[in-house]
């Protein structure tokens, strides 16, 4: 008959060949491969300081008849370390969810048990189908002064471990990031970008539980972010963008009174509106373009250099671009 045997990494394992006597002649195989007699002590198989690679099916056959006398599935693993537990309310005031994981794998099956106590009451945390290591609870009462205590116990064949979280209802409120963030240039406005977004769809009641938002943006070429906090509304116009520069923009959300900020939304990229470059064929037209560009915020020399370069050829164009970037970076420092 066959069964599963769990052993700790580093342990010494002795396998007996079922009911056979110690001095019986037997052959052991591991996953079908014969095991050398040096590992035997009589009919017992001795595995010292087992490691993960030694997991597998071990079979014991009677010497002469080659009858299968014993079979076991050896699984080498570890007892669980203290699990990592996190609870969060991204759908306040509906309820909250808890999710967990093990910091290191055990290599053998584990079972999890979660308990939630609110004051003296036991609450049931309903396990989610997907993802597996998650359960959710619905609030029955709101504005509670009593803390919630969540205990997660993880058990496997080699041991158990647990962790506890105690928190107030308001402390775990953290919305999901805003959705559908869109950034668009504003026609005829070279320094503006219009950003709009939506409340996260998991937030059930933005009317009674309004969110406030945090917007951050920077041109790709710079490392420092600029920040704007918005107490309401789901749109904002950036009015100090550097003309012609591609921007990266993100938004975060928070309940206006309690809890913590959400993670940053997916980043969107946008470049402010720039005037269409006109075709240059004569010197006269260069002068026209130059004087037209001086009215924009960017340093005119950039445009001038490039226009002249366009006349000469692609080689000069490369020089022009480099020169343009250098001047741009330089002028950015002065803004």
């Amino acid at each position: 008959d066959s069964h599963i045997q769990y052993e700790r990494v580093g342990a010494d394992v002795t396998m007996k060949c079922g009911s056979m006597d110690w001095d019986a002649a037997v052959t052991w195989t591991a996953n079908g491969t014969d095991i050398d007699e040096s590992h035997l002590n009589g009919s017992y198989l001795i595995l010292k300081n087992v490691n993960l690679s030694q997991s597998g099916q071990y079979s014991c056959y009677e010497g002469s008849s080659w009858h299968l006398k014993y079979q076991t599935n050896l699984r080498v693993g570890m007892p669980p370390k203290e699990p990592v537990l996190m609870c969060r309310s991204n759908n306040y005031p509906k309820g909250f969810y808890c999710s967990w994981h093990l910091p290191t794998p055990t290599y053998i099956p584990n079972s999890f048990n979660i308990s939630v106590i609110h004051g003296t009451k036991d609450m049931v945390c309903e396990k989610d189908a997907i993802p597996k290591n998650r359960c959710h609870i619905r609030y029955i009462q709101l504005f509670s002064t009593v803390k919630y205590k969540v205990t997660l116990t993880v058990t496997n064949a080699l041991g158990k471990n647990f962790t506890t979280l105690t928190f107030d209802e308001f402390a775990i409120v953290k919305p999901d990031p805003p959705e559908s963030v869109v950034a668009k240039p504003v026609p005829n406005n070279p320094r503006r970008l219009e950003v709009s977004w939506q409340n996260p769809s998991s937030w059930p009641d933005p009317e009674s539980f309004p969110l406030k938002f945090f917007l951050r943006y920077r041109p790709l070429i710079l490392d420092q972010w600029q920040h704007v906090e918005l107490s309401d509304g789901t749109s904002h116009t950036i009015t100090d963008a550097y003309a012609g520069k591609e921007y990266i923009i993100q938004v975060a959300a928070k309940d206006s009174d309690i809890g913590t900020w959400s993670d940053w939304s997916v980043a969107v990229h946008a470049t402010p509106w720039t005037e269409e470059p006109k075709h240059l064929t004569t010197e006269a037209q260069i002068t026209e373009t130059t004087s037209a560009s001086t009215s924009s915020f960017m340093a005119p020399p950039t445009t001038k250099i490039c226009d002249k370069g366009a006349m000469v050829g692609s080689g000069a164009m490369a020089v022009c671009w480099t020169a343009g970037l250098v001047v741009a970076a330089y002028s950015v420092l002065f803004i």
């Binding site: 005031p93 004051g119 003296t120 609030y139 029955i140 009462q141 709101l142 504005f143 509670s144 002064t145 009593v146 803390k147 205590k149 105690t166 308001f170 009317e207 009674s208 539980f209 309004p210 206006s256 009174d257 309690i258």
Partner: protein
């Protein structure tokens, strides 16, 4: 015995709030703006309470000032009005009921805080408590103002000391007294969070249009 009598007397004396002055200006400002102001006041008080509670719990000493302190609620603590409410019930509250619950709660909490003020040892605490009580009084008046401007009657003030059922005596020992103080501060904190949500809901449901109508009516 004696302490119970003193407590009753103190509460009766301190809880006879003066009649609300006629708040004509609130009608002109508009219920909408008063609600915003009341909302802002709750946020301000919540911020103030954080400092006050920290100082007070340190004054009470361990275990009250430990962050994990999570005692069970004793029956005696039910005297302090609780902000905890069934979710669906809270959602379904009428504007009047919502405002009245806030008004009643803060009136009683103010009363308890004033008693506390008379008992604390250090000058710093007395100063902080006095300042907080003044702000809390302002909140009660502000809520009253909103109710008046919306035409709702004010709930009857705590004429009798809010001591709860006669069977509940004053704290018989020092530790239980400290527990009472702990729960008072906790409930106050929770009420301030709840009020922010209550006033958010009211903000959406009482548009400035209500005020415009009233002003026009007065013009006739």
């Amino acid at each position: 015995g004696d302490s119970w009598g003193i407590f009753t007397f103190l509460c009766a004396a301190l809880c006879n709030l003066p009649a609300l002055p006629a708040l004509n200006c609130s009608e002109e400002l508009g219920a909408g703006q008063s609600i915003q102001q009341t909302y802002d006041l709750t946020r301000y008080l919540e911020h103030q309470l954080r400092t006050l509670a920290g100082t007070y719990l340190n004054y009470l000493g361990p275990p009250f000032n430990e962050p994990d302190f999570n005692p069970p609620r004793l029956a005696r603590a039910e005297r302090v009005p609780s902000a905890t409410v069934d979710l669906d019930l809270w959602r379904g509250l009428t504007d009047n009921a919502r405002l009245a619950a806030n008004y009643r709660a803060y009136s009683r909490l103010l009363c308890y805080l004033r008693v506390l003020d008379g008992q604390v040892g250090t000058a710093e605490l007395r100063h902080r408590l006095a300042h907080f009580c003044a702000s809390l009084q302002g909140l009660v008046l502000s809520i009253g103002g909103v109710m008046s401007s919306l035409g709702y009657p004010l709930p009857a003030g705590p004429a009798a000391p809010p001591a709860g059922p006669p069977g509940v005596p004053a704290a018989p020992n020092d530790f239980l007294k400290k527990m009472d103080d702990f729960w008072l501060l906790k409930e106050l904190q929770t009420w301030l969070w709840r009020s922010a949500k209550d006033f958010n809901r009211l903000k959406k449901k009482v548009p400035p249009a209500v005020v415009t109508l009233r002003l026009e009516a007065r013009g006739f």
